[in-house]
């Protein structure tokens, strides 16, 4: 976004909210319930989530320093309790590597605490500078595997099913050394195995990272890390699965060539045009976002511009960091939310059907709340189980130098955001969402999942140079239903499956995805908040092969497993 445009948009947003000068840095309402239904408490420390995520240099001289890492919810041991995986990076001092961080796998003991099983499981990350974690059973053996996208060769941890993993990335053919970021598994060609899209950011080397000096003027006040303008973008990759064990690079063949060499950050696969096959949305930093439409056979056309979800309402490419996809307005059509850089708004693209979208950020109340922060991980999910999808956004700036001028856009450390869906308009309820939302950190990755199996969604957030937050949801909420659509007993949710509920005269839709938010993976189970509804009239599972499983009169407040053909 140009400075002129940022200024104009900022002025509009501020005037539309009754003030004529830039908002002061965030002030924080005292934690507590107040009259809010929402209450989140950070329990990471007491639960044993303690490993600090390293983040380059304190001065953030290169964009890699401040990129942060992702996280994932997964049930790696299939005991019914969600475990956590947190990616780590390196610590630098000047041009020296001081410490290579270890990723962490935390096993859920089922009593609200976690055991660090990283070493035992063999998933420390191979000493790489990590970016993201994407979880999927890529080989179809029933055990969730972990793809680590890295600055450097990727790692694919194959789950052996005995609590240990081994790296098979080289053998599988997906190492793709570079600055890899977001990824998504999807069955693009409908052959029953999972293909893989990996976004890439900048074409650079560790030597360039170590030698980087801050050279970009920020508001004429500070020199900050340069880029991404001025740096060559790195091409995204698409790997087609060959029977579930090996992949072949098929980027060009599939029509997925990253012709803009865009600075790719986040990927989400979903059926965006409602034709029954998975499409791919890529959130790019400072470039138009991509929407690749699948022809049903694993060949794609890039249709982002004319479908209305590549640019914002002003026709500008934004600096997108993260993505969420869900049906926020209950019309049965997938909507898209992108998180963007500071002094620009996050963008909510409302799905119109047939793969068309409208930017509704302003009327939906997204724009004002998201203009100042720099936003990353995100999810659209029903956190108070009232029957509609709220929005959570992880925030944090990339320039610590802005701390000398907090009156401009706030500080490097920022509060995360919780926006409540109030009839399709989003209200900022962060200040009354409990102590977990009053934390001020530089956050990045975000994953949502019900780790304590109490029917509401908790939030895992990574932070630069701090331990992650695990925000336990203590909100007072309504009814709920969590669905696991699986093929074989215990194999977990099948990626690409859609679940639609009809209840109380309304339609609720959700899907199973692997790869979301900012370089993170949510709980694969499909969660629905139902408000006062205690029984679902119709539950329709659409499997990736187009077949359906339908249930009638399904009681709420349960974890429901739907088996294909069962």
């Amino acid at each position: 976004m140009t400075l002129a445009r940022a200024a104009a948009l900022g002025l509009f947003l501020l005037l539309s909210h009754g003030c004529a000068r830039p908002a002061p840095p965030p002030t924080f309402a005292p934690p507590g319930r107040g009259d809010s239904r929402f209450r989140f408490v950070d329990v990471a420390g007491s639960a044993g989530i303690t490993r600090v995520v390293l983040s380059g240099r304190a001065t953030m001289d290169h964009l890699l320093d401040s990129g942060g890492t992702g996280a994932a919810f997964l049930d790696y041991d299939r005991d019914g309790n969600l475990d956590l995986y947190v990616v780590n990076a390196w610590r630098l001092e000047g041009n020296q590597v001081k410490e290579r961080g270890s990723n962490a796998l935390y096993r859920n003991r089922g009593d609200g605490t976690f055991e660090d099983v990283t070493e035992k499981a063999g998933v420390a990350g191979e000493g790489r500078w990590g970016a993201g974690a994407t979880v999927a059973d890529y080989d179809g053996d029933g055990w969730p595997d972990i793809l680590l996208t890295n600055f450097g060769p990727n790692v694919l941890y194959r789950n052996r099913g005995d609590g240990t993993f081994n790296d098979v990335a080289a053998r599988a053919g997906i190492e793709a050394p570079g600055w890899n970021t977001g990824a998504a598994f999807l069955d693009a060609d409908g052959d029953g195995d999972l293909d893989l899209y990996i976004a890439s950011y900048i074409d650079t080397t560790i030597a360039e990272v170590l030698q980087a000096t801050r050279s970009l003027p920020w508001h004429g006040l500070e020199l900050v890390a340069a880029g991404p303008f001025g740096m060559k973008g790195a091409p995204d990759h698409y790997f087609r699965s060959e029977g579930g064990e090996r992949f072949v690079e098929a980027t060009e063949e599939a029509g997925l060539t990253d012709r803009a060499l865009a600075y790719g950050f986040a990927v989400r696969a979903a059926d965006f045009d409602g034709d029954g096959d998975p499409d791919i949305y890529v959130a790019n930093d400072s470039d138009a976002n991509y929407l690749y439409r699948n022809d049903g056979h694993g060949r794609f056309d890039e249709v982002g511009v004319w479908s209305g979800c590549a640019l914002d309402a002003g026709g500008a490419a934004q600096a997108s960091m993260g993505v969420a996809a869900a049906d926020y307005d209950g019309d049965g059509i997938m909507d898209i939310l992108t998180t963007n850089f500071s002094e620009d708004t996050c963008t909510l693209y409302r799905g119109l059907g047939g793969g068309l979208f409208d930017d509704v950020s302003l009327p939906a109340g997204i724009a004002a709340a998201t203009f100042l922060p720099l936003s990353w991980g995100t999810a659209m999910a029903d956190f108070d189980n009232d029957g509609d999808l709220d929005i959570v956004i992880a925030n944090g700036h990339i320039y610590p130098q802005i701390d000398s001028h907090p009156e401009i856009v706030g500080t490097f450390a920022q509060r995360n955001l919780l926006l409540e869906n109030d009839g399709g308009i989003f209200r900022d309820v962060t200040g009354s969402a409990g102590p977990g939302f009053q934390l001020v950190q530089s956050s990045r990755g975000l994953a949502v999942g019900d780790y304590d199996n109490d029917g509401d969604l908790d939030i895992l957030i990574t932070n630069l140079n701090e331990r992650p937050d695990l925000l336990r949801n203590e909100s007072s909420g309504g009814s709920w239903l969590t669905v696991t659509p699986e093929v074989e007993p215990g194999h977990g949710p099948l990626i690409g499956t859609e679940v639609t509920l009809i209840a109380g005269g309304r339609t609720f839709t959700g899907d199973v995805a692997a790869g979301d938010s900012y370089v993170s993976t949510h709980d694969p189970r499909v969660h629905f908040g139902l408000g006062k509804i205690e029984s679902v009239e119709t539950l329709d599972v659409r499997w990736p092969d187009g077949t359906h499983t339908i249930r009638h009169t399904v009681p709420a407040r349960q974890f429901l497993v739907i088996r294909k053909g069962g």
């Binding site: 140009t2 002129a4 445009r5 104009a8 303008f229 001025g230 740096m231 973008g233 990253d258 012709r259 803009a260 060499l261 865009a262 400072s286 470039d287 138009a288 991509y290 056309d301 890039e302 249709v303 511009v305 004319w306 479908s307 209305g308 640019l311 002003g314 026709g315 500008a316 490419a317 119109l352 047939g354 793969g355 068309l356």
Partner: protein
């Protein structure tokens, strides 16, 4: 389109040849007045020719891109109408989606491959309309398509996309008329 490109290209090549063949000497007599050496002035003059020619060539190439997209879109409109007349609904849909894509490319002065080039130019400080960008007339790096025209073309692109599943001749004509008007306004500049 090709005509435009070919017309612009020799100017750049000629200027580049002047540069390449310039025999620049940096030596000067010890008692020479503190004037800019004539060889350097001459070379700078040649570079100025190159820069000016390159800028003209850039405008010519982007105009060519627009002309190409416009021409192809016009062809796809005709193809869509033919498909509709022949009862080929899928063909009509594909043709109208092509129109949507091509009009979108007009809005963005080319597809994503051009975006990469524009990004490279901006990375290196080249703004074809630096002043007009500040005034909000052009988006960053845009050469021919004004902000107003861009928004109009994006709206038309989306409108074609929306009508692709069930196009009508009247609908196509009405939206195409808007594209024609926008394109005509750009050609006048």
């Amino acid at each position: 389109m090709l005509r435009v490109v070919i017309r612009a290209a020799p100017t750049v090549m000629l200027a580049a040849a002047v540069l390449a063949s310039a025999n620049v000497s940096f030596a000067r007599a010890p008692d020479a007045p503190p004037a800019t050496p004539a060889e350097l002035s001459a070379t700078y003059g040649s570079i100025a020719d190159v820069i000016i020619a390159a800028k003209k060539a850039e405008a010519g190439i982007v105009s060519g891109i627009l002309e190409s997209s416009y021409g192809h879109a016009q062809g796809r409109i005709a193809a869509a109408k033919a498909a509709m007349k022949g009862g080929n609904a899928a063909g009509a849909t594909a043709a109208v989606e092509s129109v949507a894509s091509l009009v979108g490319q007009m809005a963005t002065e080319g597809d994503s491959s051009v975006a990469a080039i524009r990004k490279r130019l901006l990375d290196n400080g080249h703004h074809h309309h630096a002043k007009e960008e500040q005034q909000g007339i052009y988006d960053e790096g845009y050469v021919v398509v004004t902000k107003v025209a861009k928004m109009a073309l994006l709206a038309s692109s989306k409108a074609f996309g929306a009508m692709a599943k069930a196009p009508t001749e009247a609908g196509l004509d009405a939206e195409w008329a808007k594209v024609q008007a926008t394109y005509a306004s750009l050609k006048k500049k």
